[in-house]
Amino acid sequence: MELLLRLTNVCKEFTPVEGENVLAVQDVDLAVGEGEFLSIIGPSGCGKTTLLRIIAGLDRPSRGDVAFANGQNSQDATPTIGLVFQEFALLPWRTVLGNIEFGLEIRGVKKGTRRDKALEYLKIIELEGFENKYPKELSGGMKQRVAIARALICNPKILLMDEPFASLDAQTRFNMQKFLLRIWDKTHKTILFVTHNVDEAVFLSQKIVVLSERPGRIAATICIEMPYPRDVNEPDFARFRKKVFEYVQTT
């Protein structure tokens, strides 16, 4: 597997208005391979989101380095990154289609071309017929699909997902997990997935990185050597879930 992204000794310190600096992330070394599905898991407040924001270029690391394989630096070349938030962050005044084509619009792609492309992605996210709906008319799962399409249409090198299914009900969440695996299978994108749900991480990922409590450090890296599609009732699944749980609990 070819290397896509490497984090070297990444630290992040926040300076609050009052009091001492808070170290959110400490000495994180991480290598993400091309086409890999990697999950970062850890307790609340362990710096998972901070790490993702640094990779997305929204925050700068206090120390350390974030580098893409082609020499690009995430701080100045964001277009190769797709980011999906837990809260969807769709533009409420734009229709489904308007949201999906946003990235192309600001790149100056012609109206007809970007419409066609957006419709193509509407098909990929299985939401045909919803092109002219506004976000308020969609369910949580649908909104997240639109957010995924909006990120994918720019053809990012990597898709960063920050607890994307955390606000969905259990059934929708499971459907979305299967949906995401279909997308991954179709597009061969590299996916970096942040979650605090062990089952979700085991169901989805090839590799799981466990972060410790604040300051977040890598406590363990576990490869989930199980073929897709995975079945939560299989003994192997239970074995991996137990293994990840052990690390999550001891951190």
Binding site: A89, L91, I106, C154
Partner: protein, 251 residues
């Protein structure tokens, strides 16, 4: 429900007419609804001063409001977005705004006349002052309430500052800005009529009409003029509300 809306006004008018007919409300204090209706009719057909018809008074007033209000909206909206976007600009301009805003537009009349003379320019200037601050401040607060995640999401998609201004902050502040427009238009309309009382006479205008009616001691015509002002103000607000429903259907 719509029918219910008219119940009370009709009742009040009937009661009012009854009291007048019983001689409890003398004409010079408060003319009866019937007398006022006849007053409206004479304003429509004969005019006051004779030949100066009501619709010309209304149009003249509307034109003044239109000029001042349009300038206020064209300056207030962009400036509001810039101020919401840049904290530096906010800090720089705040002292001016804080001091200028509490000055009633009418207090500007003497200086307006010195600067622009008597005529449409000074009228437009005074109306501008009345409408500008609500539009500006509501736009600023609208920008400040735009979810920061929307800005981040679009940044990761490759949006530059100008895209963020035009495609995120401007549409995002529209609901609040629209409230500012409605407040601004209300104030503009009120300011105008008061301005026509004092400074800005040119033979036409609803405020001017009321002053003439007062001079010839015709309370029925005074009230007829007041009613016209009320009804036009209501119509203008309905117009903006209609625009709001169409423009902000995503809310």
């Amino acid at each position: 429900m719509t029918r219910l809306k008219f119940c009370l006004p009709i009742l009040v008018v009937l009661l009012w007419q009854l009291l007048s007919m019983l001689g409890l409300l003398p004409y010079y204090r408060l003319p009866s609804p019937l007398e006022i209706a006849l007053g409206v009719k004479s304003l429509l057909t004969e005019g006051l001063p004779p030949g100066y018809l009501l619709y010309r008074h209304a149009l003249e007033s509307l034109f003044r409001v239109f000029c001042g209000f349009t300038i206020a909206a064209c300056l207030g909206f962009p400036l509001g977005i810039l101020m919401g976007w840049s904290e530096t600009l906010r800090t720089l301009l705040r002292p001016f705004i804080e001091v200028l805003r509490p000055i009633p537009p009418l207090a500007w009349i003497p200086i307006a006349i010195i600067w622009f003379g008597i005529g449409i320019e000074s009228a437009a200037f005074i109306i501008f002052l009345g409408a500008f601050f609500p539009i500006l401040l509501n736009t600023v607060s609208g920008v400040l309430t735009v979810d920061v995640r929307l800005v981040e999401a679009t940044k990761v998609l490759g949006a530059k500052e100008r895209h963020i201004l035009l495609k995120v902050l401007a549409p995002g502040s529209l609901p609040s800005m629209w409230t500012g427009l409605r407040i601004g238009l209300g104030i503009a309309w009120m300011t105008l009529v008061a301005a026509e009382f004092t400074g800005v006479k040119s033979g036409y205008g609803l405020g001017y009409l009321i002053m003439v009616a007062r001079d010839i001691q015709r309370p029925d015509l005074v009230i007829a003029g007041m009613m016209t002002i009320g009804i036009i103000g209501y119509g203008l607000d309905e117009l903006l509300r209609g625009g709001q429903r169409r423009l902000l259907k995503w809310l």
